[in-house]
């Protein structure tokens, strides 16, 4: 087994030893979908949403929320804590460089968040009759582009937060506006023009739209792809430049 695989296994074990984290990051998104679907009004076609069912619109929002939780509440805090405690520094003295640990953490988070996405899609299909994505491959591409942008933001937080605690605080502070523009409180279809225009340029606004398009059978639009790649570069560049191992 390679060092990356061993570290990924170790990081996964450690992840499952944090029950609060497992609940919020892994179990909360599917639970939220179950709860939302329990309201009959959300399962009926709505005139406000041009005849769409609210539950169908919420599905990509919840998928994106799962991703945001990993990026902003798990990865960023964990890496900042590892730096604060000297875990990354110790790695520097071994033949395996600390960036492999960073890679293991991102790999584990991606795999776990894909599992959450699959669970959310399955619950939507089985319990609330929401169709599976018509373009599964486009859906996966949209998902990975959104993951790239969100993890880049998570790493940026980890680069600048001096401690694990402050990374957690900054992550939470970013979480709510990002989720607002993803449409968690007001779906994008129900936003007014100004809000939707702003949402178009936020990472999860673009992410949710591209997931929704793929679910409906379309490839992500150039605007959304550009916005997602833009956030990846704007956040990932400085993160790579300023991230410190100690």
């Amino acid at each position: 087994m390679s060092a990356l695989a061993r570290l990924t296994v170790a990081e996964t074990k450690l992840f499952f030893r944090e029950p609060m984290l497992v609940f919020f990051v892994l179990a909360f998104p599917p639970l939220l979908l179950v709860v939302l679907g329990a309201f009959p009004a959300l399962r009926e076609p709505s005139a406000d949403l041009d005849g769409a069912r609210a539950i169908t619109l919420y599905l990509p929002i919840i998928v994106a929320m799962g991703l945001a939780m990993f990026a902003l509440n798990s990865v960023s805090q964990l890496l900042a804590t590892y730096r604060e405690k000297g875990v990354l520094r110790r790695m520097r003295t071994t033949p395996v460089e600390p960036r492999v640990l960073l890679g293991a953490q991102l790999l584990m988070s991606t795999v776990m968040s894909v599992a959450t996405m699959v669970a959310v899609l399955a619950i939507g299909r089985v319990m609330y009759d929401v169709g599976l994505p018509r373009q599964p491959f486009a859906y996966l591409v949209a998902y990975l582009l959104t993951a790239l942008a969100m993890f880049a933001i998570g790493l940026l937080v980890a680069s600048f937060a001096p401690t694990g605690k402050s990374a957690g605080a900054i992550g939470t502070l970013l979480f709510f506006p990002i989720l607002f523009f993803a449409g968690l409180w007001v779906p994008r279809a129900a936003m007014n023009d100004v809000l939707r225009k702003i949402s178009d340029f936020t990472p999860l606004g673009a992410g949710v739209q591209s997931l929704q398009d793929a679910a409906a059978g379309h490839w992500p639009q150039p605007l959304q792809v550009a916005v997602l790649l833009g956030w990846t570069i704007v956040a990932g560049g400085p993160a790579a430049r300023y991230f410190r191992w100690e």
């Binding site: 061993r6 074990k13 450690l14 110790r90 003295t93 071994t94 033949p95 395996v96």
Partner: protein
């Protein structure tokens, strides 16, 4: 054969020169100490040896390799125990050893290492549940897991209680018996005196002395004092007549004889000849503390 060679090492942080021309060599199998007050440049020096910092000048060789060029090879040869370097809270001792061991070409048997360090009953214990002494022992174990030829131990016993500190010293001697050369950074005189074969005393980024602990002490001050309570009054002149004796003073009911060379033998011989016995006899010599003050002009804690 020299296993670590440091020559004219310079490291600056902005305007501040942290290490200013440090040089020393460490022989195979030695316990070599770097002694100095906080901020003297000890840690910066060993971090350059460990390849964690890039020097601004000078050369370093560890087993003949340059830490800057062959970093990958260095990592296999050198085990480092760092100040304030922890593990994830919920990682178990055995898991940590197995994981870190897997990073090396030829790892040591981690169960045997834990047994040597007295941690066998902690294999299933999570890092945060360990005591300070246990954490330190685990960090020694991790420094040795790759079967290194050189181990760098930085302020290993800082923050440990006196018993744990003595236990750590015994361990370091056992590590050396495994054939590992040890570079030990410390600001404890007692530790340096007890463990080190040779010492470099560093102050303000420079080596101010390099010798064995005994050599450092005697180079500074070879005077000794013999104190005792004589069983009968004794004429001071029989003592002052001895070539070894420089002065005789009275302190309460005690006599304090100061001198050099084989002072104790000379004094006890005279006492026996005069049928005087010495109660509460003590010999006092200059310590490494005294040597440090003489070398740097201040105490190590100031």
């Amino acid at each position: 054969m020299a296993i670590i060679e440091v020559e004219n090492l310079v490291k600056r942080y902005g305007d501040h020169t942290a290490v200013d021309g440090v040089g020393f060599t460490v022989e195979q199998g030695e316990i070599f100490g770097i002694l100095g007050p906080n901020g003297a440049g000890k840690t910066t020096t060993v971090e350059c040896v460990e390849g964690l910092r890039v020097p601004d000048g000078g050369t370093i060789r560890v087993c003949g390799i340059d830490p800057r060029r062959e970093t990958g090879e260095l990592r296999q040869l050198l085990g480092a125990q760092l100040q304030e370097s922890e593990l994830p809270d919920k990682l178990e001792v055995g898991e940590a050893m197995e994981l870190y061991g897997s990073f090396y070409r030829d790892p040591a048997d981690w169960r045997e290492l834990l047994a040597m360090l007295g941690l066998t009953d902690k294999i299933g214990t999570r890092f945060r549940r360990l005591s300070g002494g246990q954490k330190q022992r685990l960090s020694i174990a991790l420094a040795l897991i790759g079967n290194p030829r050189v181990a760098v131990l930085d302020e290993l016993t800082t923050g440990l209680d006196p018993q744990a500190r003595r236990d750590a010293w015994d361990l370091i001697e056992r590590v050396r018996e495994r054939g590992v050369t040890i570079l030990l950074v410390t600001h404890f005189m007692e530790e340096a005196e007890r463990l080190c074969d040779r010492l470099a005393v560093i102050d303000s980024g420079r080596v101010v002395a390099l010798d064995t602990p005994a050599g450092l002490v005697s180079s500074v001050d070879d005077r000794q004092r013999v104190r005792f309570r004589p069983s009968a009054p004794l004429d001071h002149s029989v003592l002052t007549a001895l070539p070894e004796v420089t002065s005789v003073d009275r302190a309460g009911d005690q006599l304090v004889v100061t001198g050099t060379g084989n002072l104790l033998l000379a004094v006890t011989t005279v006492l026996a000849r005069n049928q005087v016995t010495a109660a509460g006899l003590r010999v006092e010599q200059a310590s490494l503390d005294d040597a440090f003050v003489a070398l740097t002009g201040r105490t190590i804690d100031s």
